[in-house]
Every structure is written in C-alpha cells, then in structure tokens.
Symmetry: D2
Subunit: 293 residues, 4 copies
Amino acid sequence: MTNVPFHGVIAYPITPFDTAGKVDLGLFKSLVERLVVNGSHGIAPLGSTGVLPYLTDEEKESLTEATIQQVGGRVPVLVGVSNLTTERTVYHAKFAEKAGATAVMIIPMSYWRLTDDEIVAHYDTVAQSLSIPIMAYNNPATGGVDMSPALLKRLLRIPNVTMIKESTGDVQRMHYLRRHLGEEVAFFNGSNPLALSALAAGARGWCTAAPNLIPKLNLQLFDSFQQGQWTQAQQAFYQQFDLLQFIVQKGLPRAIQAGLELQGVSGGELRAPLAKLTIEEKAQLNAILATCF
Amino acid sequence: MTNVPFHGVIAYPITPFDTAGKVDLGLFKSLVERLVVNGSHGIAPLGSTGVLPYLTDEEKESLTEATIQQVGGRVPVLVGVSNLTTERTVYHAKFAEKAGATAVMIIPMSYWRLTDDEIVAHYDTVAQSLSIPIMAYNNPATGGVDMSPALLKRLLRIPNVTMIKESTGDVQRMHYLRRHLGEEVAFFNGSNPLALSALAAGARGWCTAAPNLIPKLNLQLFDSFQQGQWTQAQQAFYQQFDLLQFIVQKGLPRAIQAGLELQGVSGGELRAPLAKLTIEEKAQLNAILATCF
Amino acid sequence: MTNVPFHGVIAYPITPFDTAGKVDLGLFKSLVERLVVNGSHGIAPLGSTGVLPYLTDEEKESLTEATIQQVGGRVPVLVGVSNLTTERTVYHAKFAEKAGATAVMIIPMSYWRLTDDEIVAHYDTVAQSLSIPIMAYNNPATGGVDMSPALLKRLLRIPNVTMIKESTGDVQRMHYLRRHLGEEVAFFNGSNPLALSALAAGARGWCTAAPNLIPKLNLQLFDSFQQGQWTQAQQAFYQQFDLLQFIVQKGLPRAIQAGLELQGVSGGELRAPLAKLTIEEKAQLNAILATCF
Amino acid sequence: MTNVPFHGVIAYPITPFDTAGKVDLGLFKSLVERLVVNGSHGIAPLGSTGVLPYLTDEEKESLTEATIQQVGGRVPVLVGVSNLTTERTVYHAKFAEKAGATAVMIIPMSYWRLTDDEIVAHYDTVAQSLSIPIMAYNNPATGGVDMSPALLKRLLRIPNVTMIKESTGDVQRMHYLRRHLGEEVAFFNGSNPLALSALAAGARGWCTAAPNLIPKLNLQLFDSFQQGQWTQAQQAFYQQFDLLQFIVQKGLPRAIQAGLELQGVSGGELRAPLAKLTIEEKAQLNAILATCF
C-alpha cells in the first residue's frame, strides 16, 4: 500500500454549463484555478460534484484535459472515471492516464446490485489496464452499492488500488478500516459532516466540494489538526458545520453553484433535470455563508 | 386518465450479447418472438431487465426498432427511454414514438437525489415532446428515487402520463394509489413477489421478466384472477413464488439468462461487470424451475 | 399443527382507565360485550391495544378474569401474556390457562436484542408449563424483535405453538410462511392495512382493534372473501382503508379511545404518558369514520 | 444548563443473579467496588447494562440503595429510573432521590410510539417531582424511540433536565447538539464505538460498561484526550475498538458477564430469556481481551 499521491484537502470543482446546455470550459478552468490558488492540496474533476454521470464521453475527455492543463502540475489531479460498464471504465481510465492524471477515482456504479465478485473483477480489469494508482470510492447514496470493509480489503490487494474514499457517513467504517486493514491504510473522508471525526479516526485527507466556497476554513481545520492544535480544529469544524450539512442536503452541484453566485462568482447553469436552488434555499445558504467568514 | 393501452402480463426481454460484447440482435428477436407466441399481453424492451443503462444510444435505437419489427403489432410495445438527463430522455422518447412504440416507460434515474419539482419538470418536458402515453415507473432499488404517492399524483396530472408502474415491493403503496387517485387509476405491478397482492389491490397488469421462463404459470395467475377463480389464482401464485423471489434476488438479467440456458434456449452473454450465475446458483435455479412445471 | 381454535375477525378491546388512573373494569366489560354482540369471532384482551406492558400484574389478572367471565364461552378468548422475563411470562400464561383462556398470545418482548436460541428457549419454557395453544406474535415495531420466517418455523416445532400472528406489515412474509411452512400453517394477520392482501395470501384470520369502531365493515371484508365474492371484499377493504391506516398511525389505544367517544361510547381515560388525540386529530378521525358508514 | 455533576468515564455495573434467579446483592456490591477503585468518574446502576426493565420494583430499590451505600460518596451516582408509565417513573425517581442519588437517568421507554408532546409531558411530570438533575437518554435501539435534536432541545428547557446521553451511534447528532444547543450543552456519549469521535465532538463524558473489563484503557483514552495528547488518545481508542464493538454486538449484560468470568471474577447468572455467551463467543471475547492488555 504505497503510492499514495494525495493528502489534505482534495477539492472538487463543479461542471458549469452555458445557457445552451453545453459545458462551459472557460468558466470551468477559472473555477479550477480558484481552487488551486486558494490552497487545495489536490484537484478532483469529474466527481459526483462534477456531475460525471450526466456528461457525454466527449465532455468528460475535454474536462479531463482542461483540468490537467490548468493545474499544470502545481498539485496532483484525481480524475473520476466511473462508468456502469467495465469496458467504458477502462476506456476513460486509460484516457485520464494518457492525459496526465495523477490517479483515477472509481465508484462501482450500480443499476443492478453487483456481487462482491463482480465488483472485484471490475476493479481488477481496470487496474490491469493502468499504471497510475486507483482510489476506490464507496458511496451508497449516489452509487447504489455499499462496499463492506471486507470487500474494500479485497480491493486493496489489487496492486494499484492504493486508496479508499469512504462516504457512507458512518465514522465507524473508518475505525474498522484502520483497525482491520492496518495503520497504514490510506483512507480519505468523502462525507463533509464527518470532517472532524474522520481526521480523529486517522483519515489522510478530505475529498470535498466545500473549498469552492470556504477554502480558508477547510484548510484551517486540516492544518490545525495536523499541528496538534485540537481546540482550533474543533472550532474551525463547528464554524463550517452548518455549511457542510447544507451543501450535502441540497446536493453538491446545486448548492455550490448557488454559493458561487452569492459570492459574486459565476457558477454557470445546471444540466436538467438538476435545477437551481429556490429563492428560499438561496437565502438560507446566504445566511449560513455569513457565519463562515 | 384514459389512453391506457396495456393490461395483463407485460413481458420484459433481456438484452443478449455475443462473445465479442456486442448486442446480439438476432437472438434478441428470437427471445421477443418467444414472449409473444407464449401469450404475453405486451412487450417491454429496454427495461431494467434489458439492461438499459448499460447500452449505448445506438444499441438502444436498434433494440427499439428490432422489437417493434418483430412484434409486428400483435401486442402493444412499451419502450424504456429513461436517462439521467432530460435532454437525452426526450431524445430517446421521440425516437421510440417515431419507431412505432405504443408507449414509453420512464423512471426518474437519479445520481443526485432529485426534488419533487425537478422530477415533475423532467416528466413534463418529455411529455410535451410526445403524443404517445407515458408510464411513470417508481423503483427506488434500481432508480435511486422513491416517488411518493403525492408525487405520482402530480405526475398523473400531466396529460399523457397515464400509467404508473409501482415496484417498491410495498402493496400498501398500491392501496394508497387506488384510494387517493381514484378507482380508475391505471397502476401496474412491477414487483414480482407481489403479483398476487397487486391483483387483489386492483392492478391493471404485471410488468415482469418471468415469462421468459414460466409464461404459462404467469398467465394462469392473471387469467384465473380475472375469471374470479380465486383458489386457482392463489395456487398458481404459490407455485411460482420461489422462482419470482429467486430472479429478483439474483438480478433479473443474470437469473433470466441462466434460466434460459437451463431450458435449452440461448440467453447470450452478459455485459461486464454483470457476471453469470455461479454453478451453485444455477443448480438452485434448476431445482426451483422444476417445481414450476 | 392442529389445535387452532381461532379464525376470522379476532377483536382487541382497549383497556379503559378511570380519572384516578385505575383500570375501569365495568367499562372494560361493556366494551368486550359490544365486540361480542357485534359479531367478532374471537376476543383478545391484553394485547398491544390493551396496553399490556403498562399494566401491573394485578391489573392483568383482573382483566383476564373479566374478559372470560363476560364472554362466557360465546367465542374463544386469546389472552396476551407477554413479558420481558421468561419467569413472568410463565406466571401469566398459567394464570390465563387456569382462568379459562382458550389460548395465549406471546410476543418476545425485547430490551436487549434476543438471539434466536434465546427466543426458542423462552417459548419452549412457557409451552412446557401449559396445555392450551400458543400464538407466537411477530411485531418488530412494538416488540423490538423481528422474528425471521426461519425462526417462526423453529417455534412451530414446539407442540403447542400452533399459530402465528404476523404484524411486520410485509405481505411477503406471509407468502414465505405459507410456501415454506406448508399450506396448513395457521397464520393470522396483525397488520390492519394488509387486511385484504393477507386474506389473499391465505391468512386464517385478522387480529384487529377496528371492530371497536367499524365491526360491520370488518366482518363484511372477511365474509365476502370467504364466500368468494371478490369484488365485494375489495370494496369493503377500500372503504375502511383510511380508517385502518389512521388507527395504526396514531396508535391503537389512542385512536380507538377517541373513535369510541366520537360514536357516543365512553372509552375511558388513557394511562400516561399516552395522551388523548388532539382536537385536530379527532376531527380527522371523525371525517374518516363518516366514510365508513 | 448548570448543575452537571458528571464528567469523564461513567461506569455501568451489570446486575448479577444467583442460581435461584434472585439478585445477588453481595456480588453486585463487589462489582460496584471494583468500578470505583479502578478509577471510574461516576457509577450508573440500573441502566440497560443493569437490565433495569427485567427487574421488579423491590429489586430496583435494593440495587439503588446498595449502590449508594457502597459508593459512599467517593464518586457521583446516576440511577436509572425509566419506566413505561409516567406514574412509575415518578415513583422510582423519587425513591432514588431520597436514597441519595446524585442524578437520575431517564429514557422514554416506548411500547406505543410516543409523540413529542407525550415525551415532553413525561419528563416534565417527573422533573417537577424532583430536585436532583435528570439526564435524558436517547437510545432508539433499546428504548424504541428516537428523540430528534429538536425534541432534546425542548427537554433541555425543563429546569432540571441538564444532561443528554446520546446513544444513536451517529456522531452527527452530537455535532448538531453542540452547534444548535450551544457550546455549553452537556452531552454524554452512550455509544461505545463512538468513544473517540464523541470526545472530538465535545462530549463531557462517556457512559460505558467497558470499565467492568478494561478500566485502564477507558481512562487512558479520556485522560489523554483531556491533556491534549492526541496520538495517545487515538492509540488507546484503536486498542479497545474491537472490544467495544464486541460488547455492543453481543449485548452488554451477556458480554460483560462473560468477560468477568474470563478475568476470574464472578459475573453471576443472567435472568432468562437472556442467556450466557456460547463457547465460541466466549473464545472470541477472550482473544479480543488479550489485545487490550
């Protein structure tokens, strides 16, 4: 379990669309740039936040290239390449590697509930086609599959599956991973409201869309914790807790898009059926944002 | 709530693949033909059983055309056109209408949990682009969204949303629909183990992949019930109950493919990551099938 | 699996209290009398409806004796004797038998989640102390334990455990029981909104508090079904569906007490912390009751 | 929200029985003594661990008196007085106060799902009869009621309800309590596997049966955390994690009784239907205990 090129705050850009419904690449690059200059330790395009499953193959490819070009090696890039079929997952993973991605992230998307054997075969096939590392992503709420700790253990035996992103929202999963996969297991927290607990449990980093809106507070939590300043870490967490809950409850693309607009930054349009926050929701978000600065 | 062109046993073909991973259209047509000659009251390609979400646009189009050509008007055809984005759903729905589909079935596929307003807008946009009726499909287990009876009521106010397929597996949902949407609401059962209860509750029909394996028993249940032969209906149900449970538990494409092979009919290959039943599972299915004849 | 002395509509009286907080035995007897003269096929005191767990030992004993005396052999009597400890369950079961109960009903009440072995031992110990039959009652919502079909199968091997009351609200449990325990298994429905589905599935009877309010409609559902008049059974069910849902949602003791008052019959007081329905809830119940006559 | 007489590790003794099924008061006192001399910051008899709901009134009273006498003021005593009825809860709470308890703990036990208003009235009635503080206990798994943060907020407005014990196992509940009830809210963790996360979230103490078996490790976790020795706290937590999970999974009374025996200390008998751990379970516990020393 070596080859873990990520740590700290890994920031997820949204994918903005123009009024014609097309991906707005220029705006996307500027949103990526904001995340980099604001101190993110890594950039992760084409995640749930980036509405990966709503995009065409061509759109995914241009967003991959745009990210890597814009980041320009300043921080590592983690590209989401999940797909329902194994064949398409391999395709996108190889594209990302060739384009210069540091690693790829894969959630076993599920329409038909996959067996553990099917999931292992899926990762194994993709891993054999790559030489960069893979982060296995567990998020039953969006992916439809809940990978058990036992299954994650099996996945980590595949040589280049070196990282786990845990998004069940259950901190006890992380305890279990660390206790049963060894102190050196590289797990990352993908559940925003667990940011504090996950660090306490030993997470290497935090995969989050929040740096689009509150990068200082996100970094302050991570940095304080790393430096053993426990009280400051706790304070930073509680100050951003309402925002973290809000963006999860409303859905990250919708909430981040609205939050950017409230901060005077264009977030572009959403792709239907996703719709913008209502006026009431936006007012609620505005009030919460005010408590974060 | 008129324009309800379906009733009875609506049969779902699987989508077979060849060893090169391509859709085997010839085999597909022969599987459709079996369903028609075995007495199905309707044919529904591109459902969950037909692994809709694992197919390319071109594959969906050729399967739509192949079904309508093969059925040749003998029974109505219900084409699945669900897609994560509204734009693609409209596209496939219009394609199906032009190809001659009797109606389309739409499940609000969800990666990000959709709000009720987003779902209504999704159906409304599709409905306005069509003149054939729409069956709204509720199946939280595969689609990720659980549409409440109140939401279904809103959808039925859209003129050509005339049918509901309920697959939560909770018969009380059907009771509620009938009680609160009126005796004339056209709801169809999509949960195989509820086949008997749903008829008792007043369902117009049963959407099922089981006729690929046990068409006589499926029709016997429906026909006995229609003719008021209650004891026969109950017997027919209990005789097929184990099979209905098995195919649901193992996943319909995997279970039907294996069952066809056990009956000496080719079911083709599955598309990865979906994998064939294990030898043990197949033996179990064989034993259950033996109790159905 | 012989010795099944119950069938049809088994009616559950509430336990009324006076304003001093004591059980009002006179009122209780009059409520039992109403249930008998209105045609119930059996009477079941000290159920959930009768707030068994809120009563002292002395109260349980006097209610047992009062019921048996008032019913006077006109219909069979099923006495609830559930208790957290095995020792107290044996005590109350023996009391009921000596007092003349036809059978006893036992739910494995749980504070600490019991293992299957603990539950089997519990029933076995009680069964060995009795010669009357036992109805095993599965209701995870109130008892805290969900007995699997496999466990119920084990319980039915105990000679005088001859009946099952299923109250999970999942009709598929009943299908499973009948399919795997044999056509002759004597299962009773304890979930009011499943009244129709349970009969369709083969239930011997319906354990319900509804006859306190709408005895004619309850009997009409059962009798129509028995006589093969399917359409009438369906109509009777849908006419009472809202009431059945309401009394379950609000809690049977609270809802029945209020319904009795609305019908001009005293329902006595409730024992705290249970509180009477609010004025709004009572108005809602009144409106629903009006649709049942 | 003053008057919070507890902090740190609050230890829960089991209630041992003799072979005749009676409470073994002498053994109980010696188990309490062990907890005190091993450094517990508080003692809590008649909790779930002490099988409160399986005891007679007389047994509860003698256990209350025995605890207070044995502890002799060395640490504060928190007596469980929960009961299904309000009247009995008042009775036991007053008994505990008179006997010298520092505070009482009350879970809203539920057979019929209580409304929020019923729960508030229940606590309010008890509170008015007492002058010592009350800890409100939320544990849906054993009590059957899940009190929302909003409801807990209402309870804390009752003057002598000054403490909350949260046992849902969801750390986000604690985050919410602290964020919305104020930094000064006195909440205690009742979920053993959350011991670390709860401290990170700001819990005042940890209510646990684990000190019956591993008091040093429990105190080491709390003390390290208090002293800002984060790495030591994390290590102490992970060393005891398997044991904490085991005792929760098997049920605290059963697991603690077996663990005591494995340590050469009598744990007495259990009261049926609760049964001792199987030989296999005991071997598993022995292996886990070996990793804690």
